[in-house]
Symmetry: C2
Subunit: 477 residues, 2 copies
C-alpha cells in the first residue's frame, strides 16, 4: 500500500478514535499490552535473530513495553492529561468582564513514529511514542526500523489483530518500511506530529523536512547524547571500586548501545592516573559476549571510536578492538585539551567506549559542562559533605535528567521521568519521550467560549461526568 | 550596544533570575505592572501619536497589560507551572525497581520577543510574551515593533527603572530595534526560545531561521488568522439584527486590525441574500473615525482587499474605499466557488473587510471548514435546539478557540484561554500566547534521580517548603 493510502486510512482511524471514551481508549492500550504478553515468546524469538540482543534483555524490554502501555492506559482513565480548565463567566474580572471559557486538550491527528535500532520493543512498533500517541487519542503510522523489520511486521500483526478484536477503528496503528516511506510520512499533509528515536544525522534530516513543510509540524526527536558523568576527588577516594565497577558495567551494558551510555567521565586531576589504571585493569579482563545490533552500527562505532582516538591530545587507556562485539575502549585527555578540541566533547561513540577528562577545579569543570551539547543525562558521584550546587546547576542547564551516585543506563517509566534535554539530545527540549508526560506531545488545547453545557465536550461539562481533575476559576479540584 | 552584547548581558541576568525565589520573581512582575500604571498617561500619550489608536482603547489595553502581569505573578506564587512531580523509590514498580526520581520545570534561558504592530502594550515590551517568559524565570530581549519605537523605548525605560529599584538583575528585560537586530536575536546561540506576534510572511521567515540554527530553538509565533464564523439559517431567522450588528461591530473594531477579526462569514444559502442586504445597508452608514496603525498596514490592507475583490466568482457587497480609515468592505461568494478558489479561504485582509460564503448543507460546510488553514478562532451562531456537533468538531479541528453566539474579537486573559491554533495561526499549536498557560512555553523539565533531599531544588524537597502543588507517586496533592 502506498504511504498516501496508509496515512489516509490512519486519518480515518483518527476521526473515530478521537471520539472514543477515555475508558475505551485506555482499553485499547491494555489490549495491545495483553497481545504482546500473549505472543511474548514468538516476539522475543524473532527479535533475538534480528538484533543479537540476549534473550533476558529482550524479555525485560518486553515487560517494560507492556508496563508502559498499561501505565499510559491508567493515565488515560485518570484524565488529567486533558488539562480540563474552566473559567466561569465573571463580570468583575480584573481586565473587564470575562466570558465563560473552558479548555481541553485534543489529539493532534495522525502521528508518524520512527522506531529505534536498539529497542526493538520499547521504542518500536508498540513502544513509548506509539503508546503515548494512542493515549492522546491519535492514530499512529510507524516506520519500522530497518534493523528489525520482521519483528516490526510481526508486532504490527499481533497488535492489529488484538485491536480489531477489541473493536478499535481499523488502521489505528499501521506500519511502513523503508527510507522513502519514512520521508513520505514526515511530508504528508495529514501527518500532524512526529516521534523519532535515532541518530543526530538521520533525525536532523527528518526534523528539517518536518519544519520545512508548508504547514510545519512538531518533531519530537531524541537524537543522541554522550552523557557526562562527574567523579569528585572525594567520591573516588572513598569508593574507587564501586565507582569503577559501576562505570564499566554501565559503559558495557548492551555493548554500549544505549543513548544513555556514560560516554564522558570527568575526574579530578589528582586522581586521574589512579582512575585510568583502575579502568584499564578492569577492561583487560572485560569480555563482552553479544554481537552489536547490526553491521552498520558496528562499523559506525569503529569509525567514531577511531575519530576520537586520533584527536589531538587524546591518549588511549584501553584500545578496544575491531571484533564484534568490540572490546571496550577508554580514552583520556585533559580538560584544557577538551576545551580546545571540541570534538572530544561532541563526538558520540555508539558502543562501548568513553573518554576520561581530568579537571583541576570546579570552575574549569563548569566551563567544560557548559561547552557540552545538550544531553539526555548528567551524572555526579560525590560525597555527602561536598558542595555540588554549582556542578548540579551546570549539568541541569545541559541535561534532561540528573543522577547522583548512580549510572544513567536504565530509564524508568514513571510520572516524574524526563527522557529529553536540550538539542541534540532532543529537538524539543520541553518534552519527554518516556513516562506519563510523553502524552503531552501529541495534544493541543482548544478553548470553548460561551457554549451551552450540553454542547461542550464531556470533560468540560459542569457536572464533570468523566470525573477528571480540573482547574475551575483558578482553583484545582 | 550590539545585539551580541545585549544578549550576553541578558544571559547574565538569566543566570541570576533563574535562582530567584518564586515570591521575588512574582514581585518583579508586580513592579512592572505598577510602573506602567504610574506612567499610564505618558505611555498612552506616546502610543496615541505613534499608532493612531484612540485613547480609550489604549487605556483599556494598558489595563489589560497590567492585569496580565499581575495574574502571571499570582501564577508564579502558586507554583503549579513548576510541574513538580515526585516518584519515590519503589522496589515493586511494575517494570522493575524504581529509583527516587523527581521532576521540575526550569526556565529555558534568554527569550527573544517580537512585539506586534496592533497591540503597543499587550503584545509589546511588557506584554504577554514578556510577562510569561519572566514568570518562567527567563530573561527577555524584546525587538520593538517599528510601528511604535518611541513607545517601546519609553516602556523599556519605565520598566527598567522599576526593576532596578526592585533589585532585579540588570538587563532582565532589554530592547533592540530594527530588522537586522531581530534576525540577530533569533540566530544568537544564547537565545533559547522566541515569542512572536505578527504576519505570516515575517513570522515564517523568522521561524525558518530559528529551526535552521545549528541548535534549533522553539519558535512560538502567532502569525495570522481569518477567523471563520458560521451563521445557521435558524440563528439568522431568529435574530438577524443582533447578528448583523454584532458582526459589523466585531469586523470594524479597531479598524479591523485584530488577529481575531471575523473575516469569513459562512451563511446558509437560503438567507444569504437577506444577509448581504442587511450588511450592505449597515455599511452604507458605517463611519470609522480612527486612521489605521500606519501607512504600511493601510497599503497592505488595500492590496489584500484588492486581491480578494478580483478573485473569480467573488462579488462585492460593500466596496469600501481607499481612505484612511477605509470604509468597511464586504465580499460574497458561493461555497462551491470557495472550494475551487482556495485563495478565498486563505487570504487574510488585515483591516475592515470580510467575505460572506453561502453553503447548502452541513456536509458542504464541514468540507469548507476542513479546507481552511489553521485559525485562532472559529465562531458559530445557532439556536438551542440545533445539532451543531459536526460543525463544532470541524471548527475544533482547525481552531484554537471556539465561540458560540458571540464574536472573536476580545481575548480574555484567564486560566482557560487558548490564543493559538494549527499553523499558520501559530507555529506551535500545542501552546497559547495568552493566559496563564503561556508560561509553559518557556520552561523545560529536568528530573533528579536519587539526590539527597538537601541537594534538590526546594520545590522537590520532601517537606515541600515552597508549598506548591505536586504529584507524588501518581497522586495529586
Amino acid at each position: 500500500m502506498s504511504v498516501d493510502s496508509t496515512v489516509q486510512n490512519s486519518h480515518e482511524a483518527f476521526l473515530t478514535a478521537r471520539d472514543a471514551r477515555l475508558a475505551v481508549r485506555a482499553g485499547w492500550l491494555d489490549v495491545v499490552g495483553d497481545a504482546l504478553e500473549q505472543h511474548r515468546n514468538d516476539l522475543v524469538d524473532v527479535a533475538r535473530r534480528e538484533t543479537h540482543l540476549p534473550e533476558k534483555r529482550l524479555h525485560g524490554e518486553l515487560t517494560r513495553t507492556v508496563f508502559q502501555l498499561r501505565l499510559l492506559g491508567e493515565e488515560v482513565r485518570e484524565g488529567t492529561f486533558l488539562g480540563a480548565t474552566i473559567d466561569h463567566q465573571d463580570p468583575n474580572w480584573g481586565m473587564g468582564p470575562r466570558p465563560d471559557i473552558r479548555r481541553v486538550n485534543v489529539p493532534v491527528g495522525v502521528v508518524a513514529v520512527f522506531g529505534a535500532s536498539n529497542f526493538p520493543f520499547a521504542f518500536s512498533v508498540a513502544g513509548g511514542d506509539t503508546a503515548s500517541a494512542l493515549a492522546a487519542g491519535c492514530s499512529v503510522v510507524h516506520k519500522i526500523h530497518g534493523g528489525h523489520e520482521r519483528l516490526g511486521v510481526l508486532t504490527a500483526e499481533v497488535v492489529g489483530s488484538a485491536l480489531a478484536i477489541a473493536g478499535a477503528p481499523p488502521n489505528l496503528l499501521s506500519v511502513v518500511t523503508g527510507r522513502e516511506a519514512g520521508i513520505g510520512l514526515v511530508e504528508h499533509p495529514l501527518v500532524k506530529a512526529v516521534g523519532f528515536t535515532g541518530s543526530v544525522h538521520g533525525g536532523r534530516a527528518l526534523f528539517d523536512r518536518a519544519v520545512s513543510r508548508p504547514e510545519p509540524i512538531p518533531f519530537f526527536g531524541e537524537l543522541g547524547s554522550i552523557n557526562p558523568a562527574i567523579i569528585t576527588e572525594a567520591a573516588w577516594k572513598n569508593r574507587p571500586d564501586v565507582i569503577a565497577d559501576g562505570f564499566i558495567s554501565s559503559l558495557t551494558l548492551g555493548v554500549g548501545q544505549f543513548c544513555t551510555k556514560p560516554g564522558l567521565l570527568f575526574v579530578h586531576s589528582s586522581v586521574v592516573e589512579e582512575i585510568k589504571q583502575a579502568l584499564g585493569a578492569r577492561l583487560d579482563s572485560s569480555n563482552l559476549s553479544d554481537k552489536m545490533l547490526n553491521e552498520r552500527i558496528h562499523s559506525g562505532f569503529l569509525a567514531s571510536r577511531g575519530d576520537v582516538a586520533r584527536l589531538t591530545g587524546v591518549e588511549t587507556v584501553a584500545p578496544g578492538n575491531d571484533n564484534d562485539p568490540p572490546a571496550p575502549a577508554v580514552f583520556a585527555t585533559s580538560g584544557k585539551n577538551a576545551a580546545k578540541t571540541s570534538a572530544v566533547l561532541e563526538t558520540e561513540m555508539f558502543g562501548p567506549a568513553a573518554v576520561v577528562i581530568d579537571y583541576d577545579d570546579h570552575d574549569e569543570l563548569v566551563g567544560l559542562i557548559h561547552a557540552l551539547p545538550g544531553q539526555l543525562t548528567g551524572t555526579i558521584h560525590s560525597e555527602e559533605n561536598e558542595d555540588i550546587r554549582s556542578l548540579v546547576q551546570a549539568l541541569g542547564s545541559r541535561c534532561g535528567r540528573l543522577l547522583r551516585n548512580g549510572w544513567p543506563t536504565g530509564v524508568t517509566v514513571s510520572y516524574a521521568q524526563t527522557h529529553g534535554g536540550p538539542y541534540p539530545a532532543t529537538t524539543a527540549s520541553g518534552s519527554t519521550s518516556v513516562g506519563t508526560s510523553a502524552i503531552e506531545r501529541f495534544v493541543r488545547p482548544v478553548s470553548y467560549q460561551d457554549f451551552d453545557d450540553h454542547e461542550l465536550p464531556e470533560s468540560l461539562r459542569e457536572s464533570n461526568p468523566l470525573n477528571v481533575r480540573r482547574r475551575v476559576d483558578g482553583e484545582w479540584s
